[in-house]
Symmetry: C2
Subunit: 275 residues, 2 copies
Amino acid sequence: MQALVEAARRKNSVLVAGLDPIPSGFPEELRTLPEAEATLVFCQGILEAVEPYVAAIKLQAAYFERLGPVGMEIYAGLIEASSNLGLPAIADVKRGDIGPVAAAYAEAHLGVYGATCVTVNPYMGEDTILPFLEEARRQAPGGGIFVLLATSNPSASEVQESTEPPLFEVIARMISGLGRSSGDYPDAGAVVGATRPEVGGRARELLPETLFLSPGYGAQGGDASGIRPLLDRNGGGVLVNSSRSILYAYERSASNYKDAAREAASKARDELRLW
Amino acid sequence: MQALVEAARRKNSVLVAGLDPIPSGFPEELRTLPEAEATLVFCQGILEAVEPYVAAIKLQAAYFERLGPVGMEIYAGLIEASSNLGLPAIADVKRGDIGPVAAAYAEAHLGVYGATCVTVNPYMGEDTILPFLEEARRQAPGGGIFVLLATSNPSASEVQESTEPPLFEVIARMISGLGRSSGDYPDAGAVVGATRPEVGGRARELLPETLFLSPGYGAQGGDASGIRPLLDRNGGGVLVNSSRSILYAYERSASNYKDAAREAASKARDELRLW
């Protein structure tokens, strides 16, 4: 995770900008282009605009996958463009499968597509997580994985909190046993939403040393106060993702989409001076 | 799910052939080709060989994803080729994410790539499952989804059975509430491995009407007796996937890979005359 931590320190920012390119949200001037081309132009514009204010870029794989094979070309190009700007790329793929299949997914996103980090779904247990970690250790020095722990969507608690012990505690213990220290943090991080602070606080108790990636800031209803319970004993240990409220900031602004994204990223960074 | 059920009746087979193309397992004559081309030739050969004996084809997305964008072209081509042979295609993607992202994944695999069914990971709860169901209802008449319930990998029980109530029971109740009848079975099916019969039996108790997709037959250690507890009160309700023991049957045979796959599929179909 050291690539993320160093970028965060260099930029003085814990903000991660999420690329969730939704064509119906693109500004007027891009809507005449074919979807794939518009997606590429839009994302490149956002990337350059937010670069000074963010520690990393998170690519939401689904929005590239829905464009077919050409979408994966764009996904590859944007990971490369991030890397050229010195920005670690988090492939938000939430993949998970039996061992050899997980290894193929890990090879795809950390190897072929060259992301620094990848998000992983733990429903199938430890042997779905290990191949991602092993591939990160081989292919992505300074990178690692973020395992879904407590997500920010409305129905997450039905699965993650409705048993005894709550499932997120089972997963937290699993993450704790799998990570290997690789600088300031273990290479197995966790995705913990900012929308349920009591769950976030408990996740932090169970994982005092772990780097959290927290989605849900801005458009999904989380705010900076929701993030406070996630902080570690040094007041750090959290990267905060914001997607829609940066990407589509122009809708609530008189500026063009790039300037609006730049202003939104700058403002979010300042609100999130947590570390 | 009616497309699967009708194909199973027409072929008198509950067997699903899984396309898990692993280049190191390809026969000698394909190893001189570039990986992507070898993958295409190998999978097309398997598809034609097994077609008379199987109810459906299951494509393991990871093995196409690891080839980069060209892998997704091959994935698209094989779904189309299955369809041209009258075989429903199950996209084994195990995706899951917040609502709009799940909708983008559903659009990708059921819409753009044109699969009949898709596998879904329920870790994020009901609102990650619904967009897949809605897309199936719109785009894939006769299709549906299979939600991961009790998987066949060694560490599955750490997550799926270690709480009270066991997580797989929570997910079973969720599946039961989401499916809508679409012929013989609801359109929300479940993935239930053949490796833990007591869990499979309990899953069947909780989901008496649901179509199960059961992996793990053959190479993963399940056998026909492991499937018996999964059957419904009519002795049906289960499709059984076999991947490696069909694809790589030539390794234990004097035949070429297509003939060996054909023989293995024919034999598995006969062993699995369950319905």
